[in-house]
């Protein structure tokens, strides 16, 4: 990837992180940690990888995105807003009773959301159904879904994984956000699904392991997925939960908690400084 493209993606992700904090702070609720960890991936997906059109969110043959870890909605909304699906200013209405920006993604209320999610384990099944739908209609669109590493403790994930591989859904990419933390503690200590890559391999998936904050790695993993035929691809993406906000990084407590005013100001100072450095 050339330096300019990488810089653009870094700037986009930095802005998305600001959007995440704005939303969660104003809502006084939400999930910052697991939102911040996937901002780089979403920046890449929505800036070239996926065929989408903000002026026509339901474009028939668009690529589909399913946020199986629906609680990371603030990251998806920030990304969609930056792409022009709705005003960036609206991110501050997250979770308000008069807002369309629901706590978890709603496909009927929010432009650019392809599936309503939030109950863990279910999004990947819907993504599998969409990928199967594309195959049945002989369409070229691809389906992307993002799961949490805690989420894959859900049995339904493995029902879906088994079926997707057995049906040869090579138009499907499942990214696991391997940030190591869930609500009750580290994924390792709560109920470890590790090693993640080996499990998906055992389910006959093509598996790529990457650093989820490295755009070159994200690019090559998605290219690998595109050229892999006959099986779906799982990208196990090592990330830092809370990435970009120092006191949230790798901290269990920032799964589902909003920053107070002081914390918000510190977070914005850090994120804006990072953005300014990129834009300098």
């Amino acid at each position: 990837m050339d330096a300019m493209k990488k810089k653009e993606l870094q700037i986009f992700a930095a802005k998305a992180r600001i959007g995440v904090i704005e939303g969660v702070y104003n809502a006084k609720a939400g999930h910052p940690g697991g939102s911040l960890s996937i901002c780089d991936l979403l920046a890449y997906l929505y800036n070239g990888e996926m065929s989408i059109d903000a002026s026509n969110p339901r474009m028939e043959d668009r690529d589909r995105f399913v946020l199986s870890k629906g609680h990371a909605a603030p990251a998806l909304y920030a990304t969609l807003a930056l792409k022009g699906f709705f005003p960036v200013e609206d991110l501050k209405t997250l979770r308000k009773s008069d807002s369309y920006l629901q706590g978890h993604p709603n496909m009927n209320k929010i432009p650019g959301v392809d599936m309503s999610t939030g109950s863990l384990g279910q999004g990947i099944s819907a993504a599998v159904g969409m990928a199967l739908g594309a195959k049945l209609d002989k369409k070229d669109f691809r389906v992307y879904t993002v799961l949490g590493d805690g989420e894959i403790e859900e049995g339904e994930v493995w029902e879906a994984a088994m079926f997707a591989a057995n049906r040869g859904l090579d138009n499907l990419v499942a990214v696991v956000d391997y940030n190591g933390l869930q609500i009750d503690g580290t994924v390792e200590e709560v109920n470890s699904p590790y090693p993640i890559a080996d499990k998906f391999k055992a389910f006959k998936w093509n598996v790529v392991e990457i650093d989820g904050h490295d755009f070159d790695a994200i690019e090559s993993a998605l290219e690998n997925a595109r050229v892999t035929k006959g099986v779906p691809t799982c990208i196990v993406m090592k990330t830092i939960k809370g990435k970009g906000v120092s006191y949230m990084e790798n901290a269990v407590g920032w799964h589902g908690k909003a920053p107070n005013t002081e914390e918000y100001e510190q977070a914005m100072t850090e994120l804006k400084a990072a953005l300014a450095e990129l834009e300098a």
Binding site: R64, V66, N106, M107, N108, D114, M115, S116, G118, S119, G121, Q122, G123, I124, S125, A126, A127, V128, G129, M130, A131, L132, G133, A134, L136, D137, G155, E156, E159, A160, M162, F163, R167
Partner: protein
């Protein structure tokens, strides 16, 4: 009565799916390793490229159905009522009901008439569960004619539909001229002393009960209520006003099903006595289906007795 045609509603379901697949290439049928029993196997044979077996994985069954529906397909997802409505309740609620996706759930082997498999497979809770999902349409046909009509109506309806079919061959109630409309009950027999509102295989029992009551000088209206949700309020209110007492009859727990739905409407509009005939909040057991129906009071005799009890409450 020797020439009465008997057919299981699940058979009508399978045949109608084949018929639909012949003329609509957007119809997709999914099953979870029960295709021979749910009768989706008929569709599999006729349209193998439109049929997918997800294996013994009902949660994923509903999610895949949702995803297919989100890409413009009309999806039938089938399993036994226990595993469709029961095990996959939350998937139906969140992945199908909440986004209001065009998935038709074909749930067979509902109720006590599953028979020998026993309580683990006799689902008497499915209607109660499905009724709580906003926007869900619930259909429980009385015979094969009505079952076919329900499937055809479900395809025309935009949104999720739960269809409840039985394993047992039941007598045909309707003839080929029968017209079904979602949300509309229909009066099968007029009467003045009491109304029986029935669904599923209890409709035929209700008709027999009315016949025996007639011999005792009791005039009973019989209403077939194939749509449990949205419930036909008008026909319930009309029945309450005209006959002053209602008995409901269903092959389901008396909690949460047709009896509850009717009672809710009656209490809020024309408060008259309502007596519910159904499974009395107990688990079933193994045995031949028809024998079990008698044991659990799901027959004409018990309905007739309850009509008399209900009239005494007037």
């Amino acid at each position: 009565m020797a020439d009465v045609i008997k057919c299981a509603t699940r058979d009508a379901y399978g045949k109608t799916l084949v018929e639909l697949g012949d003329k609509n290439d957007k119809i997709i049928v999914l099953d979870a390793d029960l295709a021979a029993a749910t009768k989706t196997g008929m569709f599999k044979s006729a349209h193998p490229d439109k049929f997918f077996d997800v294996g013994i994985a009902e949660a994923n069954l509903m999610g895949v159905a949702a995803g297919l529906a989100a890409t413009g397909h009309t999806v039938f997802a089938s399993s036994f009522a226990m595993f469709a409505a029961g095990r996959a309740f939350e998937q139906i609620r969140n992945s199908i009901g909440y986004p209001h996706l065009n998935v038709k759930i074909g749930a067979t082997h509902a109720g006590i008439s599953v028979g020998e498999d026993g309580a683990s497979h006799q689902c008497c809770e499915d209607i109660a569960l499905m009724r709580t999902i906003p926007g869900m349409v619930i259909l429980n046909p009385a015979d094969d004619i009505e079952a076919r009509a329900c499937v055809l109506a479900a395809v025309e309806h935009d949104g999720p539909v739960y269809m409840r079919f039985g394993r047992l061959a039941v007598p045909r109630v309707f003839d080929e001229s029968y017209k079904f409309e979602i949300g509309k009950g229909n009066v099968l027999v007029e009467g003045t002393d009491a109304t029986i509102i029935a669904s599923g295989l209890m409709v035929n029992e209700a008709l027999m009960a009315a016949e025996s009551l007639k011999a005792e000088g009791i005039s009973t209206r019989v209403v077939n209520m194939a749509t449990i949700k949205p419930i036909d309020r008008d026909i319930i209110i009309d029945s309450a006003k005209k006959t002053g007492v209602i008995v409901t009859a269903e092959e389901h727990n008396i909690i949460g099903g047709l009896g509850s739905a009717v009672t809710e409407v009656v209490c809020e509009t024309v408060p008259v006595p309502v007596v519910r005939v159904g499974v009395n909040d107990v688990f079933g057991k193994s045995g031949p289906a028809v024998e079990l129906l008698h044991i659990y009071g799901l027959d004409a005799k018990n309905i007739a007795e309850n009509v008399k009890k209900a009239i005494a409450l007037k």
